[in-house]
Amino acid sequence: MEHVVSLTDRLASIGGRRSSAGRGHIRVDGVAITFGSGRKAHHAVMETSLDIKPGEFVCILGPSGCGKSTLLSSIAGYVRPSSGEVIVDNVPVRGPGPERGMVFQQYSLFPWKTIRENIVFGPKVAGRPKAELEAIGATFLEMVGLAKFAQSYPAELSGGMQQRVGIARALANSPSVLLMDEPFGALDAQTRLMMQESLLEIWSAFGITVVFVTHDVDEAIFLADRIVIMSASPGSVIADLKVTLPRPRSQDMATTDAFMELKRACHERIRAESLKAFAQQSQ
């Protein structure tokens, strides 16, 4: 963990543009997202408002098809809300942008670019000088422990390693917000736990705002400051829970009473909603 912190100092020295402190304030203001129109209209997300503080780690938790990824896409700028708007650091979101880094579930690395080329892609298209790209590449490769694989191609790496590159690629672009769409969903359980720990280390070093979409209750509790629970069809927020577990967190907290209590609370809300949805479907 210490080497991550010292890395942050080095990151700060790269052009002095790493001060994410105070940046990354997300306001989701009455966002509703409807696909199609008329009788075929599908309400993916009902009117939702959220205020996410700079540096906060928020998990959006819900069953598949509850619109949590769609909500995230609207923050990322891939989906235009049908009404309402998303405002990041006082600027309304009009489309995808480099200040909002995105990590996808899987296979989002450019297969024809080496690991290093993937990581420096953002700074490169932004026209950063070569020396800076070198420094960014080296630093972030070290951060995710993949310096040895700088010249490898994504397909030569395991799923967990690829996701670490995905995170490094997003962070190398010095965003103020990191948006993660079930990034560990395709990984096996052990790799997943390891990735969660690495993510928390990186997050605490960067002080960046993270919005993390998951359907895994344990994952949400372990990672988040705050859990936003969504229910399915139509997608809407049914609970907004604070996670008061101390940091730094470790996996053995999963057996503490506080953790269990939170888990029970989450499950209760989700079960109530699932039953409701189930009843609706079987009518």
């Binding site: 989002s108 397909a155 395991s158 799923g159 390693m161």
Partner: protein, 326 residues
């Protein structure tokens, strides 16, 4: 074709959704399964990349690689040679005995005569003029087709408007054989040279357009999204994402297009012109010089194979990522 399939499959690896059922026989290049243990982070890191950290690949070249190449090719070489020998033997028997059973072999020269004719032509400077003229026509027609075909295919693959606008032309014109174009080409173009190059161009164009379009359409959407969120402009997305994603498909289109441009060229040269390997072949028929007909045909085949191989070779460095993914 086998190669083309392999390209498609390996490419479809990252986006396994788009794997066609036909290509399912070869498993897509999936990343090696993670073998990590939380407690053994440092050790596992070294071994996790499927036992293929960079550097090892380079060390394996040399003698090992040469041996491996021969082992891999030996079967094909042996069987191929036997097959060719049998074919030649059959040709010899049929032509020497002047077999005339529905198909008439009495005017087909035997292999030895063709070989003699070939050696004679190999020392004839005019023969090389024929080859040179044909190669230049191919170069002009094919390169024009490559530029226009890739541009048009990309446009059609990326834009609904482009696809809707050009699809009828492609669909209607694609089945028209090169020979059918010859009268109109002669009427439209100022010189014979231009009309032959035009026919060669048309032959290569359609495979290139269609394959480029497919490759571009199959670009995984998540990669375009990723590039957008990293701040890439549409032009940067084209160069860094769409073009490389479509490249395996484009190369297939270029290779197929190269073959088609050769037989289009031959059609053009038979009808008009004073030089070219097609003219040479047809002229041999007019002069009742039968061995030269076959020399012309075989040289055409060799040139076509060679130029297709050149296309693949030129693309080789850009597809390194696919080979490393195995």
């Amino acid at each position: 074709m086998q190669d083309a399939l392999k390209h498609k499959v390996a490419y479809a690896g990252p986006a396994s959704v788009s794997v066609e059922p036909a290509s399912a026989a070869t498993p897509p290049a999936a990343p090696s399964p993670p073998r990590a243990h939380p407690g053994a982070r440092e050790e596992t890191r070294e071994t996790r990349a499927g036992g293929r950290p960079p550097g090892i690949g380079a060390a394996r070249t040399g003698l090992n690689a040469v041996t491996a190449w021969f082992q891999a090719k030996a079967y094909g070489l042996v069987v191929g040679t036997i097959g060719l020998a049998l074919g030649l033997g059959l040709w010899q028997v049929l032509s020497v005995n002047k077999v005339n059973a529905f198909i008439n072999f009495s005017n087909v020269p035997r292999p030895g005569l063709v070989f003699e004719a070939f050696v004679k032509q190999a020392f004839n400077p005019v023969f090389y003029v024929h080859i040179e003229v044909s190669v230049l026509r191919i170069a002009a027609g094919f390169l024009t087709a490559a530029v226009i075909g890739i541009a048009l295919g990309t446009l059609m693959g990326r834009s609904k408007f482009g696809a809707a606008l050009f699809a009828p032309y492609i669909e209607i014109m694609r089945p028209i054989p090169a020979v059918a174009w010859i009268p109109l080409a002669i009427l439209m173009w100022p010189t014979d040279e231009a009309s032959i190059a035009f026919i060669t161009f048309l032959g290569a164009l359609f495979p290139i357009v269609i394959n480029t379009m497919q490759g571009v359409e199959q670009t995984p959407a998540v990669l375009v999204r990723a590039a957008k969120s990293l701040g890439a402009s549409p032009l940067q997305i084209f160069w860094n994402v769409i073009l490389p994603a479509a490249l395996p498909s484009i190369v297939t289109g270029l290779a197929v297009g190269m073959g088609v441009s050769w037989f289009s060229l031959l059609a053009g040269e038979i009808i008009s012109g004073q030089y070219g390997i097609g003219y040479f072949t047809w002229n041999a028929y007019s002069l009742v010089d039968y061995p030269d007909i076959i020399v012309g045909m075989l040289v055409t085949g060799a040139l076509g194979t060679l130029s297709t191989a050149l296309v693949r070779l030129a693309a080789h460095p850009f597809l390194k990522w696919q080979r490393r993914a195995r």
